[in-house]
């Protein structure tokens, strides 16, 4: 399994990460070797196997739909890097 530099850059873009030239090289090697190792799963026949997303089988526990207080705005915004009038403020999306 050999991952190309273009693939690394594509994955980085999907991950919203910017990589330096050295990082691209490092992750190209790492991802190639790790994904190569993961290919060992292909030796298993799983055609008739159902997928498991949660290991402990139990019906989802549903609670009564009752209204309870949410966190106060002061707390919610306490860690905001930038805020304005009870909102998180971000750089412009469209000019």
């Amino acid at each position: 399994m050999k991952i190309t530099q273009d693939e690394v850059l594509h994955i980085a873009k999907l991950s919203r990460l910017a990589l330096s030239t050295e990082e691209v090289e490092m992750y190209q090697q790492d991802l190639s070797s790790i994904l190569g190792y993961m290919d060992t799963l292909n030796s298993l026949d799983t055609r008739d196997v159902t997928a498991t997303s949660h290991a402990v089988a139990s019906a989802a526990f549903l609670r009564e739909d009752t209204v309870t207080p949410s966190l106060p705005m002061e707390k919610v915004l306490r860690n905001a890097p930038d805020q304005d009038m009870d909102h998180f403020r971000v750089p412009p999306v469209i000019e």
């Binding site: 990460l17 993961m38 298993l44 799983t46 290991a55 402990v56 526990f61 412009p92």
Partner: protein, 478 residues
Amino acid sequence: MTPPPSLTAHLAALQSGESSSEQLVQQYLQTIEQNDDQLHIFNQVNPAALEEARQADHRRSLGEKLPLLGIPVAVKDNISTEGMRTTCSSRILENYDSIYDATVTSRLREAGAIIIGKTSMDEFAMGSSNQTAHKQKTRNPWDPSRVPGGSSGGSAAAVAAGCAPVALGSDTGGSIRQPAAFCGVVGLKPTYGSVSRYGLVAFASSLDQIGPLTNNVEDAATMLNVIAGHDSRDSTSVSFQKPDYTSFLGQDVSSLKIGLPREYFIEGMDPTIRQQVLESVEHLKAQGATVQDISLPHTDYAVATYYIIATAEASSNLARYDGVRYTQRTSEASDLTEMYVKSRSEGFGAEVKRRIMLGTYVLSSGYYDAYYRKAQKVRTLIARDFAQAFQQVDLIITPTTPTTAFVSGTKSNNPLDMYLEDIFTLSCNLAGIPGMSIPCGKDADGLPIGLQLYAPHFEEGTMLKAAAVLEKKIAFTP
């Protein structure tokens, strides 16, 4: 070193008036002060700990009786604690102020415990050595040139170094049990769904579980009594009949059937570890337990399966750190996308980036079926191995790790080597079963060796009763 005092001893001393919580907390704060420059265990010490101890003393004087009244507890820094930061040992959350208590934190406080501090960990719990922490790369108290294990390395080291009598960690693929083994303490990962994940910063949501790290088996049972139980704020929390976990201690083990999986006693592992684990099993045999070889045939596929599922879930969970809500934002960005990209690239360390990219890859168009879906199917096969094994035996015993604590820096060049470190611990998370590590001896360098117990879902009691017998018979002293 003398064996550290148990929770039972501390509680008895508090109850008789022989010591106060203030004295107790003071004593632990001093130990932290003496050790932290060298061992780098804590990301933050609770500035209100002494004040809370005085309040606990007052409550006791009024006749209040709570299971942990006045007892200091160290908490891993990915568990939310109002009044303190929760940083996940990451630069991106370095200044994140907890705005609410995790359910386990509330349960500790309701039980009267005092959070003494937040312990260092691998960044976002991604690692097996504590070396991926942004700061505070924790050292092993047994030998500071070695790693404490990870990712709950700070919590394990805190208990081993006497900086806290008990601690909480989280375990996604061995992150409680492996550091417990490396630091010579007891570590227990409960059944998936038995302890609430509300307020635990998510790494891999279908695998993460909070559990205790302690000096002895009884303390682990006491801690589990406090933290386990259904929570309506966690949709994966299971409603189950919670036993008194301490009631299993001292129970007879003569009817126990124990399985030794041949895939866990492999060529190339440290022969001392194999020998010490097998000798320990003899103690249970001597009490009448029967021991048989079993097979968990898909063990070889666990590492690949785990790193596909865990990284896929991590890439999704860590998408929320984008510079909008959680403290850290790049100072140089002209538009929204650039702000996301720069904030994330500056805030995450190398291992976290590696796992986000792996997870993104295995979920990406064209690779989803080949990796993610395949791994979800192999996960079924691994869970089925355990279900079949538990039709023959009540308990499975294995070594916790293939080696004892390694020298810091020795595995950091090859990520795959580090991932293979978890080979004996991560099947447990994939199957959702409980697992526990207890110290069972030392190697030639005097470093602790961990013995691991596995039980069926919600059968923590079986592990605890066998572990209590082993603990009595094994002469393990710090």
